[in-house]
């Protein structure tokens, strides 16, 4: 990881100059030595995509701090503008930043730890909650001077705070601690490895990133290409949007939003007069109105049925037995009986019911004798065979519906004659 590289640099310089400098340098940026120094390398190429205000606030703090206290800092500031001009490095860093978001799924422990640290680093850059930084500082025993500048940086950073702050901060903490351990091992080794021009260090940060991800081996220059191939398979899913949108929360959120809009569309088709409306609030209003009107219609119609019903006791039973007969006829596959007869009946009687029942009796008479206990035996809630009953009943009902008001669910209640039919007596 880049931090290891820069940490190595820092270590070496710190040995020469002042051990105090390590935490001081680490302080203002990432609050962990590895994090702080490493982050400009890792993040700078990737940052312009995020369009975070923190990018602007980030740079001066590094520059000031480094120019004040750090001799090594003379290397960094001229180098920084060079990074974006290096296309390969941008590409690789972008990949890795995406890859790190995926890192939780990696099975290998060291990989996952490092990916987490990388992710945590990204998030600490963009988020930077002050309390966690304070804790980390205490852990390292360096609270002294830089806290003011820390808080200044934190304030600036927290301006660019986004919704993922709380979710990631815990991971951030643990990641930072792990990072401290793993990096200092590797960093010492790598500190002696190379001190080159700035592009080369930039390359090597990315290379060392992959190297640490792989095994933490010593030779920094060679593993870069091998490691570059490894993450290709993994980052693809997350590549769509990089930055904050790639963490799992916002991904889930996006999926949820898509689902909601899809269902809204479905509801829009379902509710008449809703297709022209734009805007979710208005659409919801329409849906609510429709559901309310339907419920009111059910109420009203049940009232109507209650008013009509008392004189129709027999009729319903007759209707039922007729249904059952039809259904039974259909399912017992007496060919030629059900459908043809029934349709001829239906065609012969547009009103279906009152004339239909006497007409019904003729073909269904033998079956009525055969069954003879239709209602008790045909309770569909207990009958396992009831799915096949309505084969012809469906036709009938469909016919009725299409006759009455198939295309238009609006009720024509006023048309309904309230006098009950006399032709129902069987």
């Amino acid at each position: 990881m880049d931090l290891s590289e820069s940490n190595g640099l820092e270590k070496r310089n710190g040995d020469q100059l002042d051990p105090q400098l390590i935490p001081q340098f680490g302080g203002p940026i990432g609050m962990v030595p590895g994090t702080g120094t490493g982050s400009p390398f890792a993040l700078w190429p990737g940052m312009p995509n995020l369009s975070n205000p923190m990018v602007e606030s980030f740079n001066p703090s590094i520059l000031n701090q480094s120019s004040n206290k750090f001799p090594f800092s003379g290397v960094i500031p001229p180098g920084l503008p060079n990074f974006p001009s290096e296309p390969g490095f941008i590409e690789r860093a972008a990949r890795l930043s995406c890859f790190s978001a995926n890192g939780a799924f990696n099975g290998v422990m060291s990989n996952s730890v490092l990916n987490q640290t990388q992710k945590g680093e990204l998030n600490s850059m963009s988020i930077g909650s002050g309390s966690s930084h304070g804790n980390q500082l205490k852990n390292q025993g360096t609270i002294e001077k830089n806290t003011e500048s820390n808080e200044g940086a934190d304030d600036r950073i927290s301006d660019g705070d986004n919704a993922n702050a709380n979710a990631d901060s815990s991971q951030n903490d643990s990641g930072a601690k792990k990072r401290k351990r793993t990096n200092q091992d590797v960093a010492i080794e790598q500190g002696q490895a190379s001190m080159k021009s700035q592009e080369e260090t930039g390359k090597q940060t990315s290379e060392s990133k992959k190297e640490v991800e792989n095994s933490g081996s010593k030779n920094a220059g060679k593993n870069g290409k091998d490691a570059a191939d490894a993450p290709k398979g993994d980052y693809i899913h997350v590549r769509a949007r990089r930055g904050q949108a790639t963490n799992s929360h916002s991904l889930a959120e996006r999926v949820r939003r898509e689902k909601i809009s899809e269902r809204m569309k479905y509801l829009q088709e379902l509710v008449p007069g809703c297709s022209k409306v734009t805007g979710k609030a208005v659409m919801l209003d329409e849906i609510i109105n429709y559901v309310q009107s339907l419920q009111r219609q059910v109420e009203f119609l049940s009232m109507k049925l209650a008013a009509v019903n008392p004189r129709l006791d027999l009729n319903i039973e007759a209707l039922l037995s007729k249904d059952i007969l039809q259904g039974r006829g259909g399912c017992s596959s007496t060919v030629g009986f059900t459908h043809e007869m029934f349709h001829s009946q239906l065609q012969s009687q547009p009103g279906l019911l009152p004339p239909g029942l006497p007409g019904m009796l003729n073909p269904s008479e033998p079956f009525r004798r055969a069954i003879n206990n239709p209602l008790s035996a045909m309770n569909p809630f207990k009958d396992p065979n009831h799915p096949q009953m309505p084969t012809s009943w469906q036709d009938e009902l469909h016919n009725v519906m299409s006759m009455n008001f198939a295309p238009n669910p609006q009720l024509s209640n006023q048309e309904v004659a309230t006098k009950p039919g006399e032709g129902f007596q069987l």
Binding site: V291, M303, A306, N309, L397, K419
Partner: protein, 155 residues
């Protein structure tokens, strides 16, 4: 009748004919109401019974895969149980419904929709929309069925 020999390819009653099943359930419920109501009942009571029959036939047809139908059936059964128990002791159990966490982007109208769709109070917004769609479909079918029955009986 060889109905025992006949096996439907799909045992799910919602398989092909939701409409017809719903109408069958409803008509059977009506028949049961009519048979039970040998003693004279008030029209309001009959209205309530028929309304319950309508809703429960809807819920039965939709089956247990939908949350609204489950909630509807539970509500109807509880009401029945309450009615039966009211003769003995009036003792209500407080039902605890955990309200769904309302998200900030959720429109304020969603609360109204929650109240309309049975069982919607504890649903997440995304589920609420799905259930509402299914509920609307079933309600529409029911209304069409009842309307056709009313038309047929009163003509």
């Amino acid at each position: 009748m060889n109905r025992k020999n006949y096996t439907h390819p799909n045992p799910n009653p919602n398989y092909t004919s939701n409409n017809s099943m719903q109408s069958l359930h409803f008509i059977q419920a009506l028949a049961r109401i009519n048979r039970a109501a040998s003693k004279p009942t008030t029209p309001s009571c009959r209205t309530k019974q028929i309304r319950h029959a309508a809703y429960s036939s809807m819920a039965y047809t939709s089956g247990s895969r939908r949350k609204w139908s489950r909630a509807l059936l539970i509500r109807l059964r509880q009401r029945q149980r309450l009615r039966a128990r009211r003769l003995l002791t009036v003792r209500r159990r407080v039902r605890i419904v955990t309200p769904a966490m309302s998200l900030p982007e959720e429109p304020a109208r969603a609360e109204t929709l929650r109240r309309l769709v049975p069982g919607g109070r504890s649903m997440e917004y995304c589920n609420l929309l799905e259930e509402a769609a299914d509920y609307v479909q079933c309600l529409r079918t029911q209304v069409q069925l009842m309307q056709s029955l009313v038309d047929a009986f009163s003509s």
